[in-house]
């Protein structure tokens, strides 16, 4: 092979490799990216059964129920709609009533959201960004009392 042919074959090989990787990447993005919703967004959303989403909002006051063992049920609200969530595990240290949370999981056929992870805000100035922005856009945002 001449130098030129060699170089061309290397470039072709590299491109084929990159193409395969790109295809895989975009397939994975389509399949595995999880969308973020607030409870009120869900009426317009067309969800596949079993599709993983992230559901954010405030923990509604008075809805936290501790069940058997480590199972906890609570409602996530954006002050327009509520969604009942169940979660088995240890809640984050900052999980409280009327605080912003993001839960990730899937809907059960009966409409209860089964979360396998729950994130709460990290410190007193921080609320999950998606939650804060969505609440602001819905006009139910209240500036935190600290600061």
């Amino acid at each position: 092979m001449t130098r030129k042919q060699k170089r061309l074959s290397v470039i072709a090989g590299g491109l084929a490799f990159l193409g395969a990787a790109t295809g895989l990447t975009f397939y994975a993005l389509g399949q595995k990216a999880s969308y973020f919703y607030m409870p009120a967004d869900l009426t317009n959303a067309s969800l596949q059964p079993g599709q993983r989403i992230r559901l954010g909002g405030l923990v509604e006051k008075g809805t936290i129920e501790r069940g058997q063992g480590a199972t906890v049920a609570f409602s996530v609200t954006d002050n327009q709609k509520q969604v009942k969530v169940t979660y088995t595990g240890i809640l984050p240290d900052l999980f409280r009533e009327e605080q912003g949370v993001i839960t990730e999981g899937t809907f059960r056929p009966d409409g209860v959201f089964v979360a396998d992870s729950v994130l709460a805000k990290h410190d007193e100035n921080y609320m999950p960004k998606e939650v804060a922005e969505s609440l602001k856009s819905k006009g139910v945002w209240q500036e935190s009392k600290s600061d």
Partner: protein
């Protein structure tokens, strides 16, 4: 003292401008005096930045709450070590640390670069000075750590409790030494482009810097991973969080650079590619700094969400990445192409390594930036997490890991793949044995798990084979073998150690992910629980008082076969009154290479406590492997050939067979 610090920082900024302009014009006009300015200015700039950093650290150590930054991130009751580490536990201080390390590397080039060609040295220092100038301006204009408060508050607002940990003393400095260390490779590349000239001595200079940066970055990432593992109480060692990815991308690109620089140094091939990789690696470091510091992402690392800062860093990013790539586009064609090689050769193997690593970097980059892009163009908010990376990054890494043992055994220029495969038969047999043992004797082992264990053993045995073959194991008499072994270049040991560490990390990841078990339950005092053959008894909650927090300690007794207590594991819920924050301290017991990990949840109304327990087999190998990789890098650095200033003596003193001449 505080004002001295601020003043020193302003001076450092002024000097960095001098460092940028004077040597660069000196190099253009071939003016020796102007070029010589770079060195002393770089050293002085470092000294001034260090003074400034020391001033801030002293303000922290002495709890000077008249400094706004100290007030916001410290408390008089904190232990001294956390007061000091708090210096960089905030946006302003961590940027100051960033610049301190940047100027430190600049000073190192000035101090050890006396044998570099004068124009190259001047240009390198100029580029390094330019990076320093922009970041110093960034600190002075948007993130002044020395701003005063009047009147001075009596008490501070405490450091974020999650950061009150020894991890803060180790993780950021190591990570920054890595991140910023790549700036040297960047400066060398840009300098080479400015000069339009690149040769093997360039690679001899760049390789040790890459090794140093890579070594520290490996340590920084591993330390960050272990810190998150024990501090957050979630039991995971890697979350594919954008902030983690931000440090992982330069690591992947840096690993590629490390390997392509070998080809360039030994065979003077892949010159242009190596140069581009050096630029890309530091660009990814800058991108990481932007992602973490601009507040576009929410995480524990995003201290600040001041939009002007984000815009400023974005400008720096555009200037350096855009500028260097444009320079590359214009100048790269001037550089001469290097030697030829057959696809089956050491060079070919290293090209394959580069192909995989850069593609893997690209997938991580896409996964990290895609959510930001989607949010920018539509109202959708998406998150890309572990499932995405498992599907893209995983398939790219597995074939790379499979071919790793072949690389070092192939000869330069034209290799014999069958001969290499023959030499690797023993390693292959060992890996196969590991697969069979795992599949047959470990309950619940899936095919994937067994293959994963085999892959780990394959890497480890492959690394050992490399050493064995190069010492002449089985082909020469034992005494000659020992002599050859002792005479092998350090870089051969470095390679083998790094690949062995990779195998250990692989084994740790496979062990934890495939054979780990976990349980979540609520326990009353006195109850026992079984997990993977370990029996734990919950002894109860005991209140305790720390210097700036109060805590409830959950005591767990690990019971032996006869029911006696063999160890006590404590996990606690801490509450920090100043920030009104609660944190969970996980309880960890290391047994062999594995760990028993537990973390406390909420207390129920009936006095029970939710407990989450994990059995994590071989988990410590994940970080242990990283330490071995660092040792490999350190070993390579000790190679005489790489030691700048002592390049020639080796040829006479050792009778070793150079690795390149081996069949």
């Amino acid at each position: 003292m505080v004002e001295t610090g601020h003043f020193a920082l302003v001076l450092a900024f002024a000097l960095s401008l001098v460092q940028t302009l004077v040597p660069m014009f000196g190099a253009r006009m071939n003016n020796q005096k102007m070029m010589a300015v770079g060195g002393p200015v770089a050293v002085t700039g470092f000294a001034l930045t260090a003074l400034s950093f020391a001033a801030l650290a002293i303000a922290y150590a002495t709890s000077d709450f008249s400094v706004a930054n100290v007030w916001d991130n410290s408390h008089s009751l904190q232990p001294l070590i956390y007061k000091i580490t708090g210096t960089w536990g905030n946006h302003e201080g961590s940027m100051l640390l960033w610049v301190l390390i940047l100027t430190f590397f600049g000073a190192l080039v000035a101090a050890f670069g006396s044998n570099l060609p004068a124009t190259l040295r001047a240009n390198v220092l100029a580029v390094q000075g330019a990076i320093g100038a922009t970041f110093l301006l960034f600190i002075l204009a948007t993130s002044n750590p020395f701003a005063r408060l009047n009147p001075a508050p009596i008490e501070g607002r405490d450091l974020n409790p999650i950061l009150q940990d020894l991890g803060l003393a180790i993780h950021p400095p190591l990570l920054y030494l890595g991140y910023v260390g790549f700036s040297i490779c960047f400066s060398f590349s840009v300098a080479a482009l400015i000069e339009g000239r690149i040769d093997a001595s360039w690679a001899r200079w760049v390789r040790p810097w890459t090794l140093v940066a890579w070594m520290f970055l490996t340590g920084g990432i591993a330390m960050g991973s272990y810190w998150a593992y024990y501090e957050l109480g979630w039991g995971g060692f890697w979350f594919w969080d954008p902030v983690e990815n931000a440090s992982f991308m330069p690591w992947l690109a840096g690993t590629a650079l490390l390997h392509s620089a070998i080809v360039m140094e030994k065979r003077s091939a892949l010159k242009i590619w190596t140069l581009l990789l050096a630029i890309l690696t530091f660009s990814l470091s800058l991108l990481g700094t932007f992602l973490v510091r601009s507040g576009v992402l929410t995480s524990v690392h995003a201290f600040a969400t001041d939009p002007t800062r984000g815009v400023f860093i974005l400008c720096i990013l555009t200037l350096f990445i855009g500028g260097s790539l444009a320079l590359f586009a214009f100048r790269a064609s001037r550089l001469t192409a290097g030697g030829l090689f057959h696809p089956i050769s050491r060079e070919g193997a290293l090209v394959l390594n580069n192909l995989f690593l850069t593609t893997a970097t690209a997938t991580v980059l896409i996964g990290t930036l895609y959510p930001l892009a989607v949010e920018a163009v539509s109202a959708d908010k998406i998150s890309v997490g572990a499932p995405f990376f498992n599907l893209t990054f995983g398939p790219l890494m597995v074939p790379l890991l499979v071919v790793v043992p072949f690389g070092p055994l192939l000869a330069w220029k034209r290799g014999d793949i069958f001969a290499v495969a023959q030499r690797l038969m023993a390693a292959f047999a060992a890996a196969l044995l590991a697969v069979l043992v795992t599949a047959l004797f470990i309950d619940g082992a899936s095919v994937f798990a067994a293959l994963g264990v085999g892959l780990g053993f394959w890497l480890i045995c492959g690394a050992l084979t490399d050493i064995a073959v190069k010492s002449g194991f089985g082909t020469v008499a034992p005494s000659i073998m020992l002599r050859r072994f002792a005479g092998l270049p350090r870089s051969v040991f470095g390679t083998a150690l790094a690949h062995l560490g990779l195998g250990l990390t692989t084994l740790g990841i496979v062990g934890t992910l495939c054979f780990g078990t976990e349980k979540i339950l609520s326990m009353h005092a006195g109850e026992t629980v079984q997990l993977s053959g370990h029996t734990l008894r919950f002894e109860g909650l005991y209140p305790a008082q720390g210097p700036n927090y109060s805590e409830d300690r959950g005591r767990f007794a690990l019971l032996g076969a006869d029911g006696s207590t063999t160890a006590v594991i404590t996990s606690s819920k801490r509450s920090y009154p100043v920030r009104q924050m609660t944190t969970t301290e996980s309880g960890i017991k290391t047994i062999g290479f594995s760990q028993l990990y537990l973390s406390l949840g909420d207390e129920g109304t009936d006095g029970s406590v939710v407990v989450r327990l994990w059995w994590k087999p071989l988990v410590t190998l994940i970080w242990g492997g990283a330490l071995v990789m660092m040792a490999g890098a350190a070993m390579s650095l000790m190679d005489r050939r790489l030691r700048v200033g002592a390049p020639s003596r080796r040829r006479k003193s050792t009778g070793a067979v150079p690795s390149a001449s081996l069949p």
